[in-house]
Amino acid sequence: MRLRANPNRMQLLRLRRRLTLAKRGHKLLKDKQEELMRRFLGMVHSARDLRADVETELAGGYRAFISARFEMDGSAMASALAFSRRTVELKAAREQVMNLKVPKFQIDIPSDAEFGYGYGETTMDLDRALEMYAALLPKLMSLAEVEKSIQLLAAELEKTRRRVNALEHILVPNLEETIRFIADRLSEMERATATRLMKIKDIVREH
């Protein structure tokens, strides 16, 4: 579609400048899209493996925990869990990926600390379940990290893709068409002037 522009030299120059700008923007966005896509695909692959790992291990932990639940008294369980001293430390930060901020988690599990509950009231299954949970926590954190990053990157990729397409398929062709139109018009006007001048010259010479 041709843009609305008066066919004169001023407009032609202006449109040409806009075209170079649009092309440069398109190239930059395209590069950005490629880089985002590269990182995104890597993340998707690692997320899928991690998710599968986490789900199987978590199921195992749950099984151990449920059998502990059957063996133990509810209040004993509640106090055992409440008195645990193995509190994890989470450090949450934001990491820059292109123009996006993605979360970065670091978790600190005091591995030497005892759970802190008496052994008399708790069962082996509880210990086993909690050990499994402890082993799982770092994976859980990286899963949270990578899945969030995927969501953020996906949104950004979609936006970038739209922009690239808008430039490539709409703005640039429109500008080119308009520039061509104005250039044609200008040269047509030039030819018209030339013939008019020749004609006038003829008329002047006859007198």
Binding site: T87, A92, F115, L130, L140, A144, K148, L153, A155
Partner: protein, 109 residues
Amino acid sequence: MSRIAFIGDRDSVWGFQAFGIAAFPVAGAQEARAAFETAVEGAHAVIFVTEDVYEACAEQVAKYRDLALPTVTVLPSVMGSRGLAATEIHEAVSAAIGADILGEAGKRS
């Protein structure tokens, strides 16, 4: 802002209490939404939710989708996994690429 929360049915979340993770045992969608609100207000950086809770809180979760923190992650509950998280990722991938490529990618690897 560096704390972890886990919202879900009691058997799923209870054990994680031993690690200082804020466990929100909930039953039903109403409680789940209230717990989610509390978890967000409590400045938890990571909020784990079970699939049931995730479905109940879909609108609230959507508000935090574009923010780095808090990060909401779906985990299976003791009842097992329905693959909700995998579907989420799948949707994100097709939205990003503009085509459903994960089927192909699955075959490749």
